[in-house]
């Protein structure tokens, strides 16, 4: 049974216009959360939560009546977590996190929960959860220890092309549509700021193709409403050094195989 609880400390967002983002318990509170304490320490999602809050602040500065904001919900994905509901609520309020709702679900019904809450992007530290959610039409992104060193003033989104030589990960029609929808929203948010000093930054990295693949990807994203800020065409050069300079908060790749050709 899924229960949804509102966080009374946080002003609720307009459900129709907000961009709903779900983050798992394990990402928000990290592995030390299970040591029996009632106030959990923060996990790898902290910079992401901070930066989403920052984007909202900047959007409201531009327009105090803005409704197209990020709406962050915390979701549990197994029964043990589901039972920690009061500690979770306490810890969230203790840290002053801008999480508007909690979805207490289990491994069997969390995806249904995501769908019901109109979640447009699902953040998890678990690769399987990400895969399953994507297949069911909810674009997902993985967080890990690298996420900790991301900036908190600017949300950096990295688009990478799907490589030609890779087993087909099989994105469904549903996931393509929801991905495009999400991109359109992100693009609209970005448009509200100028070329420089934006709290959102879109970066494209093409690893394997040449300049023309990269150019195609730029135009493709443009047609979906996303105006890319930075572009790096590697043509087979090692991507590690570049990624460590870019420090993206998350990568969007496989759910967006629409970038191909």
């Amino acid at each position: 049974m899924v229960s949804t609880v509102t966080n009374s400390d946080v002003k609720q967002k307009d459900v129709d216009q907000a961009v709903v983002v779900a983050v798992t318990f394990a990402a928000v509170f990290g592995p030390e959360a299970e040591d029996g304490s009632t106030v959990y320490r923060l996990g790898v999602a902290l910079p992401l939560l901070q930066v989403l809050q920052r984007v909202n602040e900047r959007l409201l500065e531009k327009n105090p009546a803005e409704h197209q904001l990020f709406d962050v919900i915390l979701i549990t994905t197994d029964s043990w977590q589901q039972q920690q509901n009061s500690s979770i609520i306490n810890s969230t309020r203790h840290h002053g996190l801008e999480i508007s709702r909690f979805c207490f679900s289990t491994e069997d019904n969390y995806i249904e929960s995501l769908v019901q809450n109109n979640v447009q992007l699902f953040f998890t530290t678990d690769g399987n959860e990400a895969l399953q959610a994507t297949h069911q039409g909810v674009p997902s992104a993985l967080l890990d220890k690298n996420s900790v060193s991301c900036p908190s003033e600017q949300l950096r989104v990295l688009f990478c092309e799907k490589a030609i030589i890779q087993p087909n990960m099989g994105s469904t029609e549903a996931s393509k549509k929801s991905a495009q929808n999400f991109l359109a929203h992100l693009g609209q948010m970005r448009q509200k700021f100028g070329v420089f000093d934006s709290p959102l930054c879109f970066t494209l990295v093409t690893s394997h193709g040449g300049k023309d693949s990269c150019c195609c990807a730029l135009k493709s994203l443009r047609s979906l409403g996303v105006s890319v800020d930075e572009a790096y065409c590697l043509g087979g050069a090692p991507r590690g050094p570049i990624l460590s300079l870019l420090r993206p908060h998350f990568l969007l790749s496989d759910g967006f195989s629409l970038l191909e050709g």
Partner: protein, 361 residues
């Protein structure tokens, strides 16, 4: 100064990098239009050029300065299907491509080639016009960085750059301080006819190939002391300058032609154009080059005569010097010049110490 290419890597990194490399190789091999694929970065001589060295963006720059960045980006996007005209590094890039063609003929499986990377601060939307222009001229540039305003220095290192050319002195200085060979390019005042079969590169000696240790002596103690000093230390090699590694990289590629009996027909030729005189201070320079195992094809000792007229005869695709006085002289007579902002020469203009204006905080 930096090694030609750093080699430290872990095993897992190597594995991922190999996969990336193999995937790119397959991509290019499968293309219908056979475009030469970019070489493996750790074996290539990587030359990073900025957008304003490759193309003429003077009018667009004016829009940026007068009307701001938003109007500038909008203008570029509006005109993205209009190819830009060429900039000062364009002949150099064409010459590099020609050398690559010759190398690929002789060594079809080698990754030791020139790799040209576009390294620009421009916004990615402006990039579409740049890519279209690259295609218009048929340039083989498959790698690029459009940093959307951020400093390119970190990316220069990530792409294992051997030489960086830009029109912005601050970026060039930053690169040199980070140990990367770099120079600020200037557009010559006249056109000149450059070879399209041979890459010709001219270097000044002190504070370019060599350190500025001797120049310090000239500026502080005068020419006579300089001559005595150079005679006395004739057999002590000078320390390296910022462009030594680039000369070394050129030499490595030259030897590949010599190995195939192509010395007389070598498509790379290097020149040393120095104000030193052969009699009194030239020996030390030649002995230093020899001690480094480097060859230079022609060494021209001017004994203080102006460099402009001589360079006009040489007609290099690029000429590196640390003193603006020589750059301007070369420029006047049609030589494509590149300033290397290194060493004590930066504090002087035509032999006089420049009064530094108080720096704004």
């Amino acid at each position: 100064m930096s090694e030609i290419k750093p080699k430290e890597k872990t095993a897992t990194k190597d594995n991922e990098e190999e996969k990336d490399w193999e995937a790119a190789k397959a991509f290019f091999d499968n293309l219908k239009t056979k475009v030469p694929r970019p070489p493996k970065p750790q074996y290539a001589v990587t030359i990073a050029v900025s957008s304003r060295t490759l193309f003429n963006m003077v009018a667009e720059r004016k829009i940026f300065e007068d009307e701001g960045v938003e109007k500038y980006v909008a203008f570029q996007v509006e005109h993205e299907n209009d190819p830009l005209t060429t900039g000062p590094a364009f002949p150099f890039v064409k010459a590099l491509m020609n050398v690559n063609t010759r190398l690929r003929n002789l060594y079809p499986d080698s990754e030791e080639l020139f790799d040209i990377v576009l390294m620009t601060n421009n916004h990615a939307q402006v990039g579409v016009r740049l890519i279209n222009s690259i295609n218009h001229y048929g340039l083989t540039i498959e790698r690029f960085c459009m940093t959307g305003g951020k400093s390119p220095i970190g990316y220069l290192k990530a792409y294992m750059t051997n030489l960086y050319l830009s029109t912005t002195p601050e970026k060039v200085t930053e690169a040199i301080e980070a140990g990367i060979a770099a120079a600020t390019m200037f557009t010559p005042k006249q056109e000149s006819d450059l070879s399209d079969t041979q890459l010709r590169v001219a270097f000044d000696g002190d504070a370019v190939l060599f350190s500025d240790e001797s120049e310090i002596i000239v500026k502080k103690h005068g020419l006579d002391t300089f001559f005595e000093h150079e005679k006395q230390f004739e057999n002590k090699p000078l320390a390296q300058g910022p462009l030594k590694c680039f000369l070394e990289a050129l030499g490595k590629l030259q030897r590949k032609f010599y190995a195939k009996n192509e010395r007389l027909n070598c498509p790379i030729r290097t020149f040393l154009v120095t104000a030193r005189s052969a009699a009194s201070s030239g020996a030390r320079v030649l002995k230093t080059l020899r001690s480094w195992g480097l060859e230079i094809d022609e060494a021209l000792f001017l004994a203080g005569a102006p460099k402009g007229p001589l360079l006009q005869k040489i007609r290099p695709h690029i000429f590196f010097d640390d003193q603006m006085f020589h750059i301007e002289g070369a420029n006047e007579l049609g030589t494509i010049s590149a300033h290397v902002p290194y060493g004590i020469g930066q504090k002087y203009n035509k032999g006089k110490l420049i009064e530094e204006p108080k720096k704004k905080e």
